[in-house]
């Protein structure tokens, strides 16, 4: 029985087969590569920090996430319909894609391995309390927890609460507090 080829060997095989038929467009591949590089969680952090400092922007962001992200230059594939989920003192939001691994690429970047893992996908909807605790997030018992499953075309980003003690921070300093995990809802920004 032949062994299974490595994924690297299989990728090379597929690329070779397509190239031999002249079905690959190197310019397009280069454009895609550049686009991927532009999708960074720093984009979402920028959006969050702006929302924390500009109440009018925050209102626009919550009313129409897609348009408000576009204001800051963020949009594109998997960003066609962005909905921003506001955390409040009584509501905490967490995002998952149980069926695959959907996420708003332009503002969050491509998803992290943990977000794509069967462990996260299977557990977060059924026992988010235990999962968040394991991940270091202990929510007060009276906070309502909503888990959003990305099962259609809406792409969600969590808008965390601005941490106390950041009154004097600049927008850039605030953005540095906003990690990928805080925009999925499995962590809180901390100073």
């Amino acid at each position: 029985m032949t062994a299974t080829a490595s994924p690297a060997a299989r990728t090379t095989a597929l690329l070779g087969a397509l190239a031999d038929k002249d079905l690959l467009d190197p310019a397009m591949l280069g454009q895609i590569e550049a686009m991927v590089e532009s999708w960074r969680p720093q984009n979402g952090a920028h959006v969050v920090a702006r929302a924390w400092t500009d109440p009018a922007y925050r209102a626009r962001l919550v009313a129409d996430g897609t348009a408000a992200c576009a204001e800051l230059g963020y949009g594109g594939p998997q960003g066609e319909y962005i909905v921003v989920l506001e955390n409040t003192p009584t509501l905490h939001n967490v995002v998952v894609c149980t069926l695959c691994s959907c996420t708003p690429w332009p503002i969050m970047g491509l998803p992290r391995d943990w977000y794509k893992s069967p462990a996260y996908r299977s557990r977060i909807t059924r026992e988010p309390q235990a999962v968040l605790r394991e991940m270091g997030l202990d929510l007060p018992a009276d906070v309502k927890l909503r888990v959003w499953d990305t099962t259609a075309e809406t792409r969600y980003m969590v808008l965390p609460m601005r941490p106390a003690g950041t009154e004097a921070y600049s927008e850039a300093e605030l953005a540095a507090l906003v990690t990928y995990e805080t925009m999925v809802g499995v962590a809180l920004p901390t100073v």
């Binding site: 087969a17 038929k21 695959c100 970047g109 069967p118 909503r146």
Partner: protein, 206 residues
Amino acid sequence: MDGIHDLAGVQGFGAIEVEADEPVFHAPWQAQTFQLLMCLNRFGINADEYRHSVERMEPAHYLAVHYYERQLTGISTLLVEAGTVSHADLEARAGGRYPLARPVAADPVVPTTPQPEPRFGVGDTVIVRNISPAGHSRTPRSVRGRRGTVLHVAPRFGLPDVSAHGGVHRPEHSYHVEFAAADLWPDALGHSVVVDIWDSHLEPAQ
């Protein structure tokens, strides 16, 4: 399809491991595979067909491998099925077995009535229809037949059940429907789960 990919609530998985300073890709083949994914529309293949190609993987293979290996398997399967490349050629080039996903089910679509206009509004109570297409569908098994409340009406997007299987583009609204988690799993605590569900998969609660 009630496949292995429908993971919500399946028990027995372990801890979630967050990698510090994780790179976007862990190897060049992952970046190359993602680039190919972004080119699929040039081959006449849409995102719903792609998602279903991954869902069609042998369940043991699906669970055993990394996300981008699933992506590679789905893309390769679609290009072989389209006749763009041949499986034998891929295996010869790769120098080993080149696993593909399993074929599409014989009768993949459950016919539903098109719903071009939104039938529900925020606050409405809805019930998830008791249908289970053998092909692609984005409604998880865990909410089938369950009752929830509409939180938000999303814009029209093509119903994936049909576009994954060569059907016409059929735009319908989807709804963010909130369910009490304890209605989905008897051991769940007091949280809720919001699932984004296309119009024709819902019916009004009596």
